[in-house]
Symmetry: C2
Subunit: 198 residues, 2 copies
DNA sequence: GCAATATGGTATCGAATCGATACTGAATCG
DNA sequence: CGATTCAGTATCGATTCGATACCATATTGC
């Protein structure tokens, strides 16, 4: 009784393992390891504040040294491009190259998952997302680390007008698509929680 | 719109990564890698049909060679015991040693998760479990592989009387505790799906 | 029975991940 | 402008992991 949280953990771990296996499979042709594939997927969805080795490392739970090597490899393979930040010249910015985007387009690392969830109603998915997101947030508060999230639901998100947005933390204006990318500066809004973009 | 399955995937992967990190942390004292910890947790919950290298390999998504080495290490450390099956002498059976159980008891690899889910109502957890379980099952049907599950909800599960159970596939009688362990022969019951033990 | 084949597990090898440590260059703070 | 912090890289060694080959036991076909 009350073991249900553990059942949930078991499922998350198992599905995680399976997706890891899946990543290994889709990367096999290009000799890419699961981490490399995950990194590419991350970069495809990271916003302008989060396309750095550091953010990626935190996202994947790896140390910066390890990340550095993986990026080196992805760079050599021409799957990503690295360039210096204009303002802080210590930081390296990352973006997918055309080849990298093509790879993701061809490999479709998430296809198996899409299929596997085809019978789950949007509503149930929303509920599961909400529960897991809250778990993630609590976990991150307990430890340190960023929860990673998207603008809607973030403390710093400001809506200027119907289609104009702004990040209160960085002070930048944001486009619509900007607000749908992953950001590591994400912090949960204090008030009413739950639900995200629909 | 309709990207929600991907959001769910992202959460599962991220939580999976975090728990992996957590496993690395708790295993660090004993020089155990995440896989080793996961293997111990699995063995602590596997039923009599599922305590073999093969089942473990399928559960973790690793090849039998890899598993064999991990088990070798766990054996050398005295965390598990290996013994031959009486009937089929090719198969090796595994069980936690007293040391192994003590390790799990001390390390509490699931504690961080328990904490992280403390604010999620049992109901929401149940819903999330149900959605993820269905995802897992569909995934396993698409590919091959066992979904791993527990007796309630399994096609082969038979209730003989109030407290007597039986596995229709193996033909064995099962005790109450038996029915709450992980089994790799699990198959979803055809009819009404959803919900499990409460 | 007995060869042929299948199956569970192990041994060996090489590639690659990963963390630890030390290091470089840039920013910030006094 | 020196001291410290910080982002990232380089190097190293331990370990994981898959691939392949192998061994012992089961099973099947004849």
């Amino acid at each position: 009784m009350d073991k249900n949280p553990l059942v949930l953990l078991e499922l998350v771990e198992r599905l995680g393992n399976l997706m890891r296996q899946e990543a290994r499979r889709v990367g096999a042709d290009e000799q890419l390891s699961p981490v490399h594939v995950e990194a590419l997927v991350y970069l495809a969805n990271a916003n302008r504040y989060s396309n750095t080795p550091q953010a990626l490392g935190e996202y994947l739970g790896l140390t910066k040294g390890t990340i550095s090597q993986s990026l080196l490899l992805l760079d050599r393979r021409g799957l990503i491009e690295r360039y210096q930040d204009d303002i802080d010249r210590r930081v390296v910015r990352l973006r997918l190259s055309a080849t990298g985007e093509q790879f993701l387009y061809d490999a479709q690392p998430q296809l198996a998952w899409i299929h596997a969830t085809r019978d789950i109603s949007p509503n149930r998915i929303r509920n599961a997302v909400s529960a897991l997101r809250e778990t993630l947030t609590t976990f991150q508060i307990d430890n340190d680390g960023s929860p990673f999230g998207k603008c809607p639901g973030c403390k710093h998100f400001e809506r200027l007008s119907a289609r104009a947005y702004r990040c209160g933390l960085m002070g930048d204006r944001l486009s619509g698509p900007d607000t749908r990318k992953i950001c590591w500066l994400y912090e949960v809004k204090g008030g009413a929680s739950d639900d995200d973009e629909l």
